[in-house]
Structures are given as structure tokens and as C-alpha cells.
Symmetry: C2
Subunit: 128 residues, 2 copies
């Protein structure tokens, strides 16, 4: 399967797939004309990475998870520890974003009810 079709199958842009090859995540075969030829296994790997990325795992975490997946002797504990660490990171990030949101929303609301020359958003950024 050529790269365009692999892209359609996995939802990943061709450019990204080439990049993933560059950094050694997949190693598609090559046809006589030099075109990449993706096997079913390649597609599965790419889809795996795609899902991992969609869940916010880093490329390196995806790499590790993929290796664990392909190693039939994998233990749950390694996988869990990667996943739990990531979950913690996500929770942290969500908290930060909610804090941001609250502060910003407050400024915006104040701005909505205020038509004095100095915008409360800017005053907020300026530190009052």
C-alpha cells in the first residue's frame, strides 16, 4: 500500500508518516521504484501510534508502549506506570487550564461590564 492510502487508513498525514519512519517508528518496505510499501503490520503500528498521540502520549512513550505491545512477554506494570504517569500529567494540565480559564473568564466578564477607558483585561495583565 502506498503512502497516500496508508494516510487514509490511519488518519495520519503522509508527511507525518514519513517523519515517523525517519525517527524509526516504522520501517515500511520499498518497491523497485523507491515507493514505500506499507504492510498491514505497518498500518497497525501507525494506528497504534496515532491513538497514543491522540491520548497525549509523547512520541517516546508511544515508542515504549509499542515495544511493550510487540513484546508478547510484556508485563502490565510497565504499561500501567507509563499510563498512570501520563494520567497524572493530564490531571495537572487540566487543573492549570481551569485555573487559567477562571482568571481569564473573570477578566473578560469584568471587561464586558465596564466601559471605562482602561480595559480590565489589560489592567489585569498589567498587575492592577
Amino acid at each position: 500500500m502506498n503512502i497516500k492510502d496508508a494516510s487514509k487508513h490511519t488518519g495520519l498525514p503522509s508527511k507525518t508518516i514519513r517523519y515517523y519512519e525517519d525517527i524509526g517508528l516504522v520501517e515500511p518496505a520499498r518497491l523497485a521504484n523507491g515507493y514505500r510499501d506499507f504492510s498491514d503490520n505497518d498500518l497497525e503500528k501507525l494506528a497504534f501510534i496515532g491513538r497514543g498521540r491522540a491520548l497525549g502520549f509523547s512520541i517516546d512513550e508511544c515508542r515504549s508502549l509499542l515495544a511493550l505491545y510487540e513484546d508478547r512477554t510484556h508485563t502490565h506494570s510497565e504499561v500501567r506506570s507509563i499510563a498512570r504517569a501520563h494520567l497524572k500529567r493530564i490531571d495537572q494540565k487540566i487543573k492549570e487550564m481551569q485555573q487559567m480559564r477562571a482568571t481569564l473568564n473573570d477578566l473578560v466578564k469584568r471587561c464586558n461590564n465596564d466601559d471605562r477607558p482602561d480595559c480590565p483585561i489589560l489592567l489585569g495583565l498589567a498587575g492592577d
Copy 2:
């Protein structure tokens, strides 16, 4: 004020302050020895940018907001539109993260209650 003290005042690393000068956000004066000499106004600008960044605004948004702040004839509407767009982005991002969290948390939970050889997290990533 030298860069170290400016760093302490604003909470921004010296490296970052130099970077901000590089990209034209501040233009501190220079002493005869070539050292940067930050004025109160420079410090205010840096702190402004720092708060903007902490709220998740991009550098370019901070640049615009700072310009609006320094332009005493600024209108609320421009500021609001930047802030509202950012608020929307934050909300979108929070939603995405919560979706991620839910999916990942589900996988982790299934993994906790499951000691079959194939880890549910990996199976989830592999697309079941």
C-alpha cells in the same frame, strides 16, 4: 537594573528575558560596559508578558495586548476579541484533555482489574 535582578523581579529566567529582547518585546538600555539596564517600564512590560504567558496567550498575542495597553486610545473590543478567542481555545483544549483523561482512565482501570497476559491499555491502543 541588571538582568539577574530583572529576572528576580519578574520571575522570568534571564535567558527568557534576553530572548524577549531578541524578538523585540523589550529594548532595555545598555550601560557603558554593554550590560543591559532595565528601567521600571521594561520591568512592567516583562511582567505584563509574563502574566499573559501564564494565562496561555501566545507571544504574538502578548505583543498585541502590550501594544494595546501602551496605546492609550485602545478600544475594549480588540482586547476582548483576543481574550475571547483565547478563552474559546482554552475551553476547547480542556474538553479535549478531559476526553483524553476519561479514555485513558478507563483503560487504566480495566488494566487494574485484569491480569490476563494482554494488557487492556495496549489492546486499547491497538484498537481492540
